[in-house]
Amino acid sequence: MATEYMTRMGDGRRVFMTREDILADIEAGVAEGADSAEVPALSEEEIEHLLEIVCAKERIVTVEPGNEIVMSQDGGAISIDSEHTSGVPSGRILATLMYERGFCMDSIDFGHTDYSFKPVKPLISVECQQMRWVQEAVTVPVLYGAMPNMGLYYTPDGPYENPGDLMKAFKIQEARESIEKSADHLTRDIIWIVQKMMKSGGADGINFDTTGAAGDGDFFAALRAVEFLRKEFPEMYIEMGMAGESMLGIHGELEYKGKAVAGLWPHKQVELAAEAGANVFGPAVNTNTTRSFAWNLARAVTIVKEASKVSPIPVHVNMGNGVGGVPMFELPTLDALSRANKAMVELAHVDGI
């Protein structure tokens, strides 16, 4: 009987697979990633290396000394006390210290519990005050973190009619106009909040988390904000993390600097992020819960590798619950997470996680 290796499905379920079955899934994942994103497939040697990582006997794997990479934390420092994750009642400032001194993060993002730009507007004085306290306590760079989350600008949460409702009624032009107005509003809000945070809060920079979650308008609004902020604050640190692998075309025809925003994959998204003025790009590749960990990781590595290769700025890949080949689970299992991290460093050649 062939040896079976304990591995995972994309939903975190434990499964046992033979080396041959794992290899077949890796090859299928590589092919799917290369086909979907239109990027080169991994070589035979790289596939063999990935197979060794997935089939490693150890529960946790890591990189060799000297190959360590930068770790930038996102999630608004709320991951510690959120009941969905650790559930440790710590508060934001204490959590930030834990990230620096306990988990050895190289940069930290500090944000409001809602974690979207829009709700920060009426709380900006409190947020600036909190940021000043954090800056006095923490040594590593602290970025203010929030999601563009343009969905909050549509009815019933915002002033502009929901493009989903308009499109259902075949009102395409009206839907697009609503997206454009929302994007203008979002860009203004981001700029206003970041100006306050930089000037009054003393933040080291800004982390755009889950950019593009509301589609191409969301990404478009964030890119314009980055461009403006880069001009006003030439030295600030701007990290742009993405929501998903392919930019959803809710508008479908928005262009940034003459390039269509919809349908872009990470290796194309990073070009726009860098052109706008971001310092760091965080690609996100989604996990398919019905496929194996091996399939998902092979696909994610294939897609992220090309983004790392073409990027003119450091690439810090999103690794965690449901992205980067990691199973979709609130607290991802260490066996899968450590293998995914090692593969991203050694095969996708990312600069950070």
Partner: protein, 216 residues
């Protein structure tokens, strides 16, 4: 005067360009030139919509494009509708009650199925879109329907196709009708799961399957 091939090419282009007015114009020109409406629908409008659908699947086009293309085709279909009706003569093969399921306002797919079924010789009672379950029941009873067909474009509305199956059972008429389901998220597996008799992948498939059951 433009040739049939030129008119069909322009019908395709109208949908691919998302141009409602061009679709109406070419549909009228096809009627004036005496071109078979089935050829215009199948080789012109439907072929173009199929192309848009494929490009949507591959990520080249997006939802607004898909809806705009459907809208253009719908404009052309409105012009062709009287001619489609005129082609229907003689005894009907079977009675089909058809509608887009409750909660769903996408009607173009259902409209194409209705048009193709009429052309093929079926009597179609088109209930429109966002059709409440009760309306399906009363229409099926009043018309002594042979088929009850429901279309759904969204995963959130396709679940109402289960309610339709249950309601037909509760009303005691499930055994008297064949149920047919279709729409973008609907599959043969889904049809099997909810107990529908027929899964139609597209309009042509719907006609083919119903003819297989009812045509003598």
């Amino acid at each position: 005067m433009a040739t049939k091939e030129e008119i069909i090419a322009r019908a395709k282009a109208a949908v691919l360009d998302f141009d409602d007015e061009a679709a109406e114009e070419v549909a009228q020109e096809a009627l004036d030139a005496g071109i078979n409406v089935i050829e215009i629908i199948e080789n012109g409008f439907s072929a173009a919509l199929g192309n848009v659908g494929e490009r949507f699947e591959s990520g080249e086009l997006f939802l607004p494009h898909l809806i705009a293309a459907s809208d253009a085709m719908g404009a052309g279909m409105k012009v062709l509708a009287p001619a489609v009706e005129g082609k229907i003569k003689g005894e009907k093969i079977a009675k089909v009650v058809l509608g887009t399921i409750e909660g769903d306002i996408h009607s173009i797919g259902k409209d194409i199925v209705a048009a193709m079924l009429k052309i093929a010789g079926f009597e179609v009672i088109d209930l429109g879109r966002d059709v409440p379950i009760d309306k399906y029941l009363s229409a099926a009873k009043e018309n002594s329907a042979d088929v009850v067909g429901s279309s759904a474009l969204m995963t959130t509305t396709m679940v109402n196709q289960i309610k339709l199956e249950e309601a037909l059972n509760e009303a005691g008429i499930r055994g008297q009708v064949k149920t047919m389901v279709g729409g973008a998220p609907v599959t043969q597996t889904w049809a099997d799961e909810i107990g529908a008799d027929i899964y139609a992948e597209n309009a042509r498939d719907a006609v083919s399957q119903l003819k297989g059951i009812f045509a003598k």
